[in-house]
């Protein structure tokens, strides 16, 4: 993984993800700054849309397969594919090979793509070995382990190591940091009462950690937690995506 003669490492394709595109573009730009600061060239395939996760989790396998094939076409020519999301990267890395397993043409392409797809902090630490960050964060921060990142991608130490390298930041662990926040995609809309009770527990754990901010790697979970904190009157606890924590928020 050493830089080539040009001093620039391989090309990384950024999978922006639907939610970042729609809700928080600044997370996408923060991801670009981080990957570039690690010496890689970032490309953003223009025709990208969605990885198909909502269809896959809703039981629409055919739609998920269609979108998976599209995604592979868009991204397979790059050396690495990186997404600022545990669940979107897990869809590609963990589920595409299963989704297309019965398709002789696409199964090997899905497997090849899966092997070079990473969640952002996983890429920065495990592949790029990044230790110097382009920003600082003055304050205490607690980290919520989003389910797919943690249990499907194996993202646990990577964000904590990066926070350790972040000037000014102090990591405080909250209790039950690995417990689900109750988002679950459409679950939050279909079963709001259960989802609300689960995210309430998460918010209490965040508050009792005493941290100034909570950082996490998935925008869906972030909106769930931020939305519940604000609804319950907490205007102060900052909810911040790990990319923006590490790279700063300037757009």
């Amino acid at each position: 993984m050493n830089p080539g003669a040009s001093g620039v490492r391989a090309e990384v394709a950024l999978f922006v993800t639907c939610l970042v595109d729609l809700m928080r573009p600044s997370i996408g730009f923060a991801a670009i700054r981080l990957i570039e600061s690690a010496g890689y060239a970032v490309r953003v395939p223009a025709a990208q849309t969605c990885c198909g996760q909502p269809a896959y989790n809703s039981g629409d396998r055919r739609a998920a397969q269609t979108l998976a094939r599209r995604f592979i076409e868009q991204f397979e020519s790059y050396a690495f594919i990186v997404a600022p999301s545990g669940s979107c990267s897990a869809t590609v890395r963990m589920h595409y090979p299963e989704l297309l397993a019965d398709d002789a043409e696409w199964a090997p392409r899905a497997q090849a793509l899966a092997a070079k797809t990473f969640e952002l902090t996983q890429f920065l630490v495990d592949v790029a070995g990044l230790t110097e960050l382009p920003a600082r964060f003055d304050g205490s921060v607690t980290y919520h382990d989003c389910c797919s990142g943690l249990r499907e991608m194996g993202v646990k130490q990577q964000p904590r190591r990066l926070i350790g390298h972040l000037p000014g930041a102090r990591l405080i662990e909250m209790r039950d940091c690995e417990e689900c926040c109750g988002f679950g995609g459409l679950f939050a809309v279909k079963y709001p009462d259960v989802s609300g009770a689960i995210v309430q527990r998460k918010c209490e754990a965040i508050r009792s950690s005493g941290a100034y901010a909570v950082a996490l790697g998935d925008l869906g979970c972030m909106m769930n937690i931020e939305g519940r904190l604000r609804r319950s009157g907490d205007e102060f606890t900052e909810v911040i995506h790990i990319a923006e924590l590490l790279a700063g928020r300037d757009v």
Binding site: L22, M23, C50, S58, C147, D193, G227
Partner: protein, 466 residues
């Protein structure tokens, strides 16, 4: 009652919520400690998974081998199509031996079969002897809310009030005293019963034995004191050898309660033989299909590996929030969300595979590596294929997927969506009522979008640079 209403009821039940909060995380912590103290738990888990998977590949052969050995040992093996058939067979056995009272140790298959009601209707008295099951039986036959801790939803204060009312004793909340009180009621039942009914954690093919794992000793009494012993369990519980049993016993109690081993592990082989100091005169196995055979070789075969430890529900954010009764049938939590639609019918439990966040914690702790979230996803696919989802949901998924395959249209749609959400936010940083997703804003605010999509901003920046 609809699932959503049952859930609402449980969330509004202050006493239940208090009890759930008190026990939440306790079993998970015990399991974590037990696993941490065990060298190379993952390797044993992999072996346990392999044993269960291997059996299922030739389930019929292993069952025949078991039947031959069990018969050789003097037991009678009976096959039940379903729960109802199992009840018929057991009542038949009871009549043949003039049985009037049956003492039961814990059996979830008997819950599946509705055995107690069937026995009562046949004028045979069932007495639950597992402390938790006994508490539920005297509380008007309340169903269990957990597969190994049936009364986890109740506090000792509730049990105290129940005992005082039913036993006519002074209320007491000392758990040991309550246990002694139940013991005093149950002792004569063991001595006077004509039949003992047990479940079966495992059936061992090489010896024709049933293995029973308990903590209270009631299983021992049920299976040795009465004249007749019936072991009632599912056909999937067979394993090849005693060596396999020792492997599975390493993961079962650790996953369930965090114990290295349970207080009692009984291995029962045939009725009392000449020279045996105790044991029943007659021993029967009633082995139930009840939908299991259909799963062999299907997309859901993995589910049959289940050894009923309860780790999935002990670690499930949804179960830990709503308790077991809200699931509506015998099996709660993630394993129940898969089994209920498979055994009761897909259309009978539409919510269960949907009412999960797919957080994957259940499959991480499962001692036989059942991919529970994958199985729930497959059930969602079946619902979709069979047209069991609401048409609006199907249409929305289709439309969205259609647009997502067309980048220009998708980009335009995203732009419109941002504008719409910004309009809803009305200058604020959040949306408090959202007509299209009322469920979201019923429980939390919806953070407003920043203002432009990433793709538009990115394109603008590239142009600026050029």
């Amino acid at each position: 009652m609809h699932f959503v209403d049952r859930v609402r009821q449980r969330l509004d039940d202050a006493e239940l919520q208090h009890n759930l909060k008190r026990t939440r995380g306790r079993n998970a912590a015990s399991r974590a400690a037990a696993v941490a103290a065990f060298p190379d738990f993952d390797a044993v888990r992999a072996r346990a998974t392999e044993i269960r998977a291997r059996v299922l590949r030739d389930l019929d052969l292993w069952l025949e081998a078991f039947e031959a050995k069990a018969t050789e040992s003097g037991a009678t093996v009976l096959w039940a199509r379903d729960g109802e058939h199992a009840c018929e067979l057991i009542i038949d056995i009871a009549r043949r031996h003039g049985v009037r009272t049956v003492v039961k140790s814990k059996s979830m298959v008997s819950e599946e079969a509705g055995l107690n009601a069937a026995l009562e209707a046949a004028d045979i008295r069932p007495v639950e002897t597992d402390l938790g099951e006994y508490i539920l039986q005297i509380n008007d036959n309340e169903p269990p809310s957990h597969i190994i801790m049936p009364v986890i939803h109740k506090s000792k204060e509730q049990v105290s009030a129940l005992f005082a009312r039913v036993h006519g004793t002074a209320p007491k909340t000392d758990i040991e005293a309550l246990t002694h009180e139940a013991r005093a009621v149950l002792r004569p039942q063991f001595l006077g019963a004509d039949m003992g009914l047990s479940g079966g954690n495992f059936l061992i093919a090489e010896t024709g034995s049933v293995a029973i794992v308990t903590n209270e000793g009631n299983g021992r009494l049920c299976t040795t004191l009465p004249r007749v012993h019936v072991a009632l369990t599912g056909i999937e519980k067979v394993i090849p050898t005693l060596e396999d049993l020792s492997t599975l016993l390493r993961v079962l109690p650790r996953s369930a309660t965090g114990q290295a081993i349970t207080n009692y592990v009984s291995l029962l082989t045939g009725p009392r033989h000449a020279g045996d100091p105790d044991g029943p005169e007659h021993m029967y196995f009633v082995l139930v299909d009840g939908g299991r055979a259909d799963l062999v070789g299907s997309d859901f075969e993995d589910m049959l590996r289940c050894i009923r430890c309860g780790a999935c529900m002990n670690h499930c954010p949804v179960y830990q929030t709503i308790g077991g009764h809200a699931y509506g049938w015998v099996y709660p939590g993630p394993m129940g969300s898969v089994l209920t639609p498979l055994y009761q019918g897909l259309d009978k439990a539409l919510d269960l595979p949907q009412a999960a966040t797919l957080c994957n914690q259940c499959s991480v702790v499962c001692p036989v590596s059942i991919p529970l979230p994958e199985l729930m996803r497959r059930l969602r696919e079946k619902q979709m294929e069979q047209g069991l989802r609401p048409w609006r949901e199907r249409l929305a998924t289709r439309l969205w997927a259609w647009a997502a395959a067309r980048p220009a249209l998708y980009a335009w749609g995203a732009r419109i969506a941002v504008r719409y959400l910004r309009w809803l936010a009305d200058g604020r940083d959040r949306i408090q009522v959202m007509g299209l997703a009322p469920g979201w804003t019923a429980q939390r605010d919806f953070p407003a979008p920043a203002g432009a999509t990433f793709r538009d901003l990115y394109a603008r920046r590239r142009q600026g640079r050029a």
